[in-house]
């Protein structure tokens, strides 16, 4: 039931990602200060934004699950958070490579965006241990949804308090009012990369959902047979 439209979606996300990387390497201008390494920006920032969006999506489906009690919403919340954790690892890795290349250190503590993302990531890393430490399936879904809601609200608070703690801002702010003073060609490339990453997330999410629901249907059929 999640399989519908998977093929065009997969093709669209491959096309968008290939297009985005083509733009990154052949169209977007090279940064004057940082040179070639700045191109990791088109991977790192979409990864981070999509991961945070996925965490919030998990919280939204958590609320829906608590309101309806349906298994479907719990699965959507679970898969969204699960995928976002993987994207979070990729974000931290690409961010560290970029930091090493442009600031000269793998990790910089006076950087609110890095620190806040790390804290949020650490919190969500507890989602699976919590979920699988509960045996009763109904309670597992409910408790996981409660966690998803609490953690979803924690994301903005964490970013705010960490940002206040450090006055110095080295990390480029991409999403301020004007697009961070980027030239139009860079901003366009970034938008295409962001769209590609979002499509990739949705595709993977639907794949995982359809595989999970197929496995559950199979188990139900087996139970009926035996």
């Amino acid at each position: 039931m999640y399989g519908r439209g998977l093929k065009p979606l997969s093709i669209a996300s491959v096309a968008a990602l290939v297009g985005a990387f083509a733009l990154v390497f052949f169209y977007a201008p090279e940064d004057v200060d940082q040179g070639f390494i700045q191109k990791i920006f088109y991977l790192h920032v979409p990864l981070a934004l999509v991961a945070l969006g996925g965490f919030v999506t998990g919280g939204v489906y958590g609320v829906k699950h608590l309101r309806s009690g349906s298994r479907e919403h719990d699965m959507k919340s679970y898969v969204a958070i699960h995928l976002s954790i993987i994207l979070g690892v990729a974000t931290l890795a690409t961010g560290m490579i970029w930091a090493k290349a442009s600031w000269g250190a793998w990790w910089v503590w006076d950087e609110p965006t890095l620190v806040a993302f790390l804290i949020v990531f650490l919190l969500y890393a507890c989602y699976q241990p919590l979920r699988f430490a509960i045996e009763d399936p109904d309670r597992q879904m409910r408790y996981a949804a409660v966690f998803a809601v609490i953690a979803g609200a924690f994301v903005p608070i964490c970013f705010m308090s960490v940002r206040f703690a450090q006055a110095a801002l080295v990390h480029p702010r991409v999403l301020d009012q004007t697009g961070g003073g980027m030239p139009g060609s860079m901003f366009f490339t970034f938008l295409v990369a962001l769209a590609g990453m979002t499509l990739l997330f949705v595709t993977l999410w639907k794949f995982e959902l359809s595989s999970k629901s197929a496995r559950m249907q199979l188990a139900a059929l087996r139970r009926r047979l035996s």
């Binding site: 241990p129 509960i134 045996e135 703690a165």
Partner: protein
């Protein structure tokens, strides 16, 4: 609602007075941690940033101990079942437990801060009045709300004592950040500096946001 909260609170306080399980353990833990810090940092007197950091880390870990114990008796002695059978609002349980944890933390801090100022603190603790109690009260409210939620989440899991610190430490980090930043100027060498207002605002915002969320979701943790 008020009567239910009062009854639950009375029961928990009586239990604590008879068993003396949580508060003495938290106090002892804090004092041992101060001694540990004296040797780990190899400093006899602390002030400013370092004093605030040591104080907040110690209080955070002590509160994790309290959060761990908060719902254990309810689960083991069937308190949850009895409470669910009673015709009262389920939020009463949340309010009672959060108030209890707030009280425990305040009692622990009363002793721990006094011991801290004798053992480790360089400047006089009286220069930090009345800012320090204010910051501690705001932080306690946040720890009480989030700790009650985390305790209720973790008590039904197989690995309760693992889940509580794993969840509570990242969730309470904004409190440590704001608390340490707000107390550091109060404990400065050579007289307290002004209390930074924006950190109080952050603590207050944290309390309000998580208070509302806890009010919204706590009922689901008791449903059975």
């Amino acid at each position: 609602m008020t009567r239910a909260v009062a009854a639950l609170l009375r029961k928990d306080l009586q239990l604590e007075l008879r068993t003396r399980e949580s508060v003495p353990a938290m106090v002892l833990f804090s004092v041992s941690t101060f001694v540990l810090f004296r040797f780990a940092l190899d400093r006899e007197r602390l002030e400013g940033d370092l004093a605030a950091g040591v104080l907040w880390v110690t209080l955070l870990f002590a509160s994790v101990l309290g959060i761990n114990r908060l719902f254990v008796t309810e689960r083991e002695q069937g308190g949850f079942d009895a409470f669910l059978l009673a015709p009262v609002d389920r939020t009463a349980m949340f309010v009672a437990k959060a108030l209890l944890l707030f009280g425990f933390l305040s009692a622990v801090e009363l002793v721990a801060v006094s011991v801290y100022s004798v053992l480790l603190l360089g400047p006089s603790p009286f220069q930090a009045f009345p800012g320090l109690p204010l910051v501690l009260a705001l932080a306690n409210a946040g720890v009480a709300v989030v700790g009650t939620l985390v305790g209720a989440l973790a008590v039904q899991t197989r690995a309760r004592d693992l889940i509580v610190p794993l969840l509570a430490l990242p969730l309470l980090l904004p409190i440590v950040i704001a608390g340490a930043e707000a107390t550091a100027p109060l404990l400065a060498e050579g007289g307290a500096e002004a209390l930074p207002g924006r950190w109080l605002a952050i603590l207050g915002l944290y309390d309000v946001v998580f208070g509302l969320i806890a009010y919204a979701v706590f009922d689901f943790l008791l449903e059975d």
